[in-house]
């Protein structure tokens, strides 16, 4: 099983990276909470977050941009259930509606930036028009870069912010779901019961592209 293990300085317990769970030591069995993030081009992240700060090497080392693996999957695990999505397939389709266990989720990917966002499909917040009926379950279709449309109300949602921006549910947010970026074989190691959605878009593995300006 190929993945990093970590140790904490306080108890010296050992943690498995993919599970976020301590596997040895005083905290064995303890689980850290997985949080969402973006894996996006710098220009995209900066445009979305103009006030962002950046972490640099505190020792003053400078690293050059490196090759970026292309052939990865998005793994979503909620409690004991897991689903996996090939980014290449998501890019072609733009959006994927799925169930992780009994939790309905939607996975949206910007085909240009490869920015992936996952949300629950059964929990939307209150729209600006509080009298608008909010469906108990949504099914989404692609509506352009960073945009998905629900078939129930026709509302258009901005996936970069998880927010309804046009239509009867305008102003309603979606609950974001965190995910893990991984290679498919590694994900299968640690989440052996996981379902896989789509297929790899690359013939040679691991595929890489060189970052150029």
């Amino acid at each position: 099983m190929n993945a990093m293990t970590l140790w904490d300085h306080q108890t010296k317990s050992v943690w498995a990276q993919p599970w976020g769970m301590s596997i040895a030591g005083e905290l064995k069995g303890t689980i850290m909470t997985l949080l969402p993030y973006s894996l996006a081009p710098w220009s995209t992240w900066l445009a979305q977050h103009p006030n962002t700060t950046v972490v640099e090497d505190e020792r003053g080392k400078v690293f050059l941009p490196d090759l970026i693996p292309l052939d990865y999957v998005i793994g979503v695990s909620i409690k004991t259930d897991a689903s996996t999505f090939y980014v290449a397939s998501l890019q072609a389709q733009g959006v994927g509606n799925d169930l992780v266990g009994d939790r309905p989720i939607v996975v949206g990917v910007n085909p240009v930036t490869r920015d992936v966002r996952v949300f629950l499909r059964d929990q939307a917040g209150t729209p600006d028009d509080e009298s608008a009926a909010v469906p108990a379950l949504f099914t989404f279709e692609d509506a352009g870069p960073d945009r998905i449309r629900d078939l129930e109300t026709g509302t258009i949602w901005d996936t970069s912010r998880g927010l309804a921006v046009e239509g009867p549910l305008r102003g309603a947010p979606l609950q974001q779901v965190p995910y893990i970026t991984s290679f498919d074989w590694a994900w299968a190691d640690f989440f052996p019961d996981s379902e896989f959605w789509g297929e790899s878009g690359l013939s040679d593995r691991p595929g890489v592209i060189e970052v150029t300006e």
Partner: protein
């Protein structure tokens, strides 16, 4: 104690470092979805998604992998020495205007409670772990 490699696997893990010791309440997923400042009826759809630290932690606790796990001991092996890879303990945080990143290069972006932080892939590729606090929430960024 064994510590195995991350070069063969690309995992990205962002986790609350000290959650097990925090008195976090559960079941407020809906609250993270509550929009703020929309009483006037005409909402500003350009406002950032409202994410507050307290709501944040509780919301994602219910959306985290858990359950019994089995480790295949035959496939668990040493690959490098302990602390062979130097984690980031005290991040050097700089303004976006002071960095020289290519537009196309990847960053790991985190936003909590209005604070946004980017961890360049070129940095995390070598450092692999960053202990940080974003939006008041102690986090571990792991690559």
């Amino acid at each position: 104690m064994t510590f195995s490699p991350s070069k063969e696997v690309m995992f990205l893990y962002l986790a609350l470092r000290n959650l097990p010791r925090l008195p976090i309440s559960v079941g407020i997923i809906g609250l993270i979805a509550v929009a703020c400042g929309s009483a006037a009826g005409e909402a500003d759809v350009n406002r950032p998604h409202p994410i507050l630290a307290a709501e944040y932690t509780a919301a994602f606790e219910a959306l985290t992998p858990s359950g019994a796990r089995t480790i295949d001991a035959d496939r668990y092996r040493d690959a490098t020495d302990v602390d062979n890879i130097a984690p980031i303990y005290e991040p050097l945080i700089v303004a976006a205007s002071n960095v020289d990143l290519l537009p196309a290069e990847l960053v790991i972006g985190v936003e909590i409670d209005g604070e946004a932080r980017a961890y360049p892939h070129r940095l995390m590729q070598f450092r692999e772990m960053a202990n940080d606090v974003v939006g008041g929430v102690p986090v571990l960024v792991s690559w």
